[in-house]
Structure formats: structure tokens, C-alpha cells
């Protein structure tokens, strides 16, 4: 364990996340972990970590960190300008930092969340199988809260890179203000008829109630079918599930919720959850209906890309 950073400014909402806490959802503990898994995994690969090492998730405005030890660092995700001392550093590449350096991550120009990974991964105690922070139950990370000014952050043991790594250009996503998100029907699509048309044909706006728990959208009212119940017996919810509460305004469930009692008209495919994660209040979302086969081929394509990047870095 080595001291790595001292937090000078915490940023808007910076938490420590690994790939998530599995196995406790039946007790009401959500999986948490990064909302944009793709950017998170790449940040780790860029600094030579395994894809599930813990890293910072930055929201809209990044932190300022005093560097206490030598290591490689990478920032991926939303376009937040990164400075090492006075020098601006491109994102989606690794860079070396030395004791005494300062890293500053400024306001996002595009997108909403970034990931800052460091060699060896951020070292905080493993709680119930994970280092991920779940602020709702004060679990994981540092005392179960976002980082604060004055926190000292440790990293795990690891060697450093022989040469900087950069993400192939075609893998770097852009984050437009209007996005198309692919979704599968169900699990309760049978509670809707014309509401289904509304959902897949109209555009929805991200409201200010958008966080790691879920994104509330605003748009044309999605009507339940005549006779369909306003609520169902509470059942587990999966990330990407789109709940329709009685007001007809959809909520996309993300990584900090385990159950829900509203019908879910559709579920965002897992490879597109990252698009939702990068949407900001005021951004616009359309949904495109896809079947399971398409969703699985999108999933495999994303895994292939990550696998090939891993191999590229290893050579």
C-alpha cells in the first residue's frame, strides 16, 4: 500500500468504484460500480491494471489532487480538461506523475462522468466483496462517502508502464446532446399498448433528477394499457430497466437500486447504458427497439473491442 494522492479539491461528486458488489442484491444492496463501465475498464487498462481495479468516478467537475508517489494515471470518459501542473494532458491516454505534481480535472465540456485510474488501483478496504462506494448505505470507498478535501488516497502495489498507452482513436466515443439508446421490450411491456408506440417513437429530455440511482426523463405521457395496475408486486430491478410510474414519465434505473414496484416497459441494452450515463440534464434521448439477439451481438462486440485493446496494450 502506497500513499498516492492528497485531495486538494474533491470535485462535484467523486467516488471510488470497482466493477461492483455482486451477491448481495437479494439483501437490498445494489451492485453500484461505474455507470459507464466501458470508460472505466479502459481507464484501468491504460495504466496496466486489471479491468476491475478501483478507480475514481468523476461527475461533471473533477477533483484537484496532490501527487504523493510516482505512478501512471489515465482519465477516460466525459471530456474534462486534465492538467498536470500547468500542462494540459489529453484524455484516454496514460501519463506519468511524480511526487509534488498536481492533477486538476476541470468542468466537463461534453458528457457527464469520467474515470481516473492509477497504477495498482485505488486501495481502500474491501467491504462485502467490493471497494465500490455506496453512499446511500455509507458502504465501501472512504467511509462510504464521496472523497473530501484532505483525504489521503492509497494505491495498490504494481509496476509502472515501460511506455505510455493510448486508446485507439476509433474507440473514443463522442458524447452528443442527443442520443439514441437501444432497448429491449419488457419485462412488463404487456402492460402497455399505445404507450409502447409513444416510448419508442418520441423524444425524452433528461431532467435534473439524474444520478447513479436512476435518470428521470420528461416527455409525452406514456399511458398504461386500460386495466393495467399502477404498481406491481415489488420485484428486483436490473440496471437499464425503464420504469413507468403513474405520471407516465419514464425513469431509467441505474446501479444504485435493487427493486421497484412499477411496470418496466423496456430495458436499455447493457452496451448502451454508458450512453445514458454520459447524458446530462437537458440532453435528449430516443429509444430504438432491438431484440435479444441484437442486444447480445452488441454486447459481444463491446467485449471484443475491449479484449483486442487489452491485447494491443500487452504487445
Amino acid at each position: 500500500m502506497m500513499q498516492m494522492f492528497k485531495v486538494l479539491e474533491p470535485g462535484a461528486y467523486t467516488t471510488i468504484q470497482d466493477r461492483g458488489r455482486l451477491g448481495y442484491q437479494q439483501f437490498g444492496v445494489p451492485i453500484t460500480g461505474p455507470v459507464d463501465e466501458f470508460a472505466f475498464r479502459l481507464a484501468n487498462l491504460l495504466v496496466g491494471n486489471s479491468e476491475d481495479a478501483a478507480a475514481f468516478e468523476l461527475t461533471v467537475l473533477g477533483p484537484s489532487l496532490r501527487v504523493l508517489g510516482e505512478a501512471d494515471v489515465a482519465v477516460t470518459g466525459a471530456q474534462m480538461p486534465v492538467h498536470r501542473n500547468d500542462e494540459q494532458i489529453p484524455v484516454w491516454i496514460s501519463f506519468r506523475v511524480k511526487p509534488g505534481d498536481t492533477i486538476r480535472v476541470r468542468m466537463a465540456r461534453n458528457g457527464c462522468r469520467s474515470y481516473l485510474a492509477v497504477s495498482g488501483g485505488i486501495d481502500v478496504p474491501v467491504v462485502m466483496g467490493s471497494r465500490s462506494t455506496y453512499v446511500g448505505a455509507k458502504l465501501g470507498g472512504i467511509e462510504g462517502r464521496p472523497i473530501m478535501k484532505g483525504d489521503v488516497i492509497n494505491r495498490g502495489e504494481s509496476g509502472l508502464l515501460h511506455a505510455p498507452r493510448r486508446t485507439p482513436v476509433d474507440l473514443v466515443p463522442d458524447y452528443p446532446n442527443r442520443i439514441l439508446v437501444r432497448a429491449m421490450a419488457g419485462p412488463q411491456d404487456y402492460h402497455f399498448d399505445e404507450g409502447h408506440e409513444t416510448f419508442f417513437n418520441e423524444e425524452f429530455v433528461v431532467t435534473s433528477k439524474a444520478d447513479r440511482m436512476g435518470y428521470r426523463l420528461e416527455g409525452p405521457v406514456i399511458k398504461l394499457k386500460e386495466g393495467a395496475p399502477f404498481s406491481i408486486i415489488s420485484e428486483p430491478s436490473v440496471p437499464g430497466g425503464v420504469q413507468i410510474p403513474p405520471d407516465g414519465q419514464p425513469i431509467i434505473v441505474l446501479v444504485e437500486q435493487t427493486s421497484g414496484g412499477y411496470s418496466k416497459i423496456a430495458t436499455v441494452v447493457s452496451s448502451d447504458i454508458r450512453r445514458v450515463a454520459q447524458a446530462k440534464p437537458g440532453d435528449r434521448i430516443r429509444f430504438e427497439l432491438v431484440d435479444l439477439e441484437t442486444a447480445h451481438s452488441l454486447f459481444r462486440r463491446q467485449e471484443d473491442l475491449l479484449q483486442r485493446t487489452k491485447e494491443l496494450f500487452a504487445t
Binding site: 439483501f27 437490498g28 419485462p187 412488463q188 436490473v238 427493486s259 430495458t267 442486444a295 454486447f299
Partner: protein
């Protein structure tokens, strides 16, 4: 209404989840089936299975799409279901939860008394009499949704939820009763408080109970409440 479906209904919950419904109502037979299947799956997990989340009448299965798909999982479940009758379903554990009712620890007791027309003593007796089955745990880590509340105690939710309900508070609302395991917002009428800590990540078993267990409330005095607070399971240990 209700009862076990003749065949389970499989619903896709996105590209990594399969929801298996065994019935559509609160029915003990459905719940026994869910518990048996959940035990069968954990002793012989099909390839690619990542996590199983049982609720009262359904199971949510998380799977790895690189290793399996719903068709294969469905086949696996159906093979298992043929052997379910061989599974000896363990009796549900009964967990006793001490509760100090009324007073400052149950700030809505007066409302409940007025609404139901019952005296505090009666409310305590009725609420602590049944063994409640834990239908599901959710909302916050360790929050039990309990079935079997007496109709005499049906009360509406608060008009406006409290921003902060402290850990251990016992509430009722409509046909449900439950316990708030951690400090959280909440809209149920609070009638008492347990000194026990329902969720403690530092314990080897962080939770005191699981879905399917039975929960029994045991009325205690304020003195007992205070002394149990510092017991091994207590909130101020």
C-alpha cells in the same frame, strides 16, 4: 386468484437478466417453489449464472451473455424443476426482533391509535402476535417487506414522507409492516424501534435474516431497549 402457475412465465429483463415468475400473487405454495428453485440453483448452478435474486413469487437470474442465453437457462431450470420434489426445503428460520413500542421511539403511535380505534396495548399485542414472512428485502440494505399484517392495523402512509427515519424504526403502511435498517427517508407510520442493528457490513453475516425467513416482534420495555443497544447485535455496540 393467484396460486402456482402450471408453467412458469419467463420474461426477459434486458440482455443479462431473466425473470422467472411462478405465480402472480402472495401465496405460500408459490413462495415454497421459489425457495426450492433458489436452493436447487445454488447447489447446481448452470453455466454462466452470476446471481439469483429470489422474491416472493419470482426469481431474477443474472447471467453472462458470453456464456449462456435465456433458452439454455430455461432448459436448465426445467431440468432442475423435475427434481425439485427431492429437495428437502429447510424450515424457514424464525428471527426474533425486540421492539420498544410507542413513546418517543414510536412517534406515530397516537395517530395509529386514533385511526384504528385501538389502544396502544392492543396495537402492540396485534402487531407482535404473528410470525411475518419476509417476502423481499430491498428499498435499503436489509429492509424486510413483511406479509401478514392484521387488517386491524391497516393505516395510510404519511402524507409527506420524513426526510430522515432513524435506523431500527418499525413502521406500518397499508397492508405492510417493516423495519428501517439504516437511516433513510421514509413514509411509513412509525410505531416503535428495535435496538438491533439489522445491517452491519463488519459482521461476518451482515444481515440478521434472508428472504423467506419468519420474523417475530417481541415487545420490550424502554430499559430493555437501552441495555440491548450495547449488546452484540445492538445498534450502539
Amino acid at each position: 386468484m393467484g396460486g402456482l402457475y402450471t408453467r412458469p412465465i419467463y420474461r426477459l429483463a434486458g440482455d443479462r437478466g431473466l425473470l422467472v415468475e411462478y405465480g402472480d400473487a402472495i401465496d405460500p405454495e408459490v413462495n415454497r417453489y421459489v425457495r426450492a428453485m433458489s436452493i436447487a440453483l445454488s447447489s447446481a448452478p448452470p453455466p454462466g449464472l452470476k446471481e439469483v435474486i429470489p422474491t416472493y413469487c419470482s426469481l431474477l437470474i443474472y447471467y453472462d451473455p458470453l456464456l449462456t442465453d435465456p433458452t439454455k437457462l430455461q432448459q436448465g431450470l426445467e431440468n432442475l424443476s423435475e427434481h425439485l420434489s427431492n429437495i428437502i426445503l429447510p424450515l424457514p428460520d424464525t428471527i426474533e426482533i425486540p421492539v420498544c413500542y410507542g413513546g418517543a421511539l414510536g412517534p406515530d403511535m397516537d395517530f395509529v391509535s386514533e385511526y384504528s380505534g385501538l389502544a396502544l396495548k392492543e396495537i402492540v399485542r396485534i402487531h407482535s402476535e404473528p410470525s411475518y414472512q419476509i417476502h423481499m428485502i430491498g428499498f435499503t440494505p436489509g429492509f424486510p417487506f413483511l406479509g401478514g399484517l392484521s387488517k386491524l392495523l391497516y393505516v395510510p402512509r404519511l402524507r409527506s414522507p420524513r426526510m430522515l427515519v432513524s435506523a431500527g424504526s418499525v413502521g406500518i403502511a397499508n397492508d405492510q409492516t417493516g423495519i428501517y435498517p439504516i437511516d433513510s427517508p421514509g413514509g411509513w407510520q412509525l410505531i416503535g424501534k428495535t435496538p438491533f442493528k439489522l445491517f452491519d457490513p463488519s459482521r461476518p453475516r451482515p444481515f440478521l435474516f434472508k428472504t423467506g425467513d419468519l420474523l417475530k416482534f417481541k415487545p420490550i420495555t424502554l430499559e430493555q431497549y437501552s441495555s440491548l443497544l450495547t449488546s452484540p447485535k445492538g445498534n450502539n455496540k
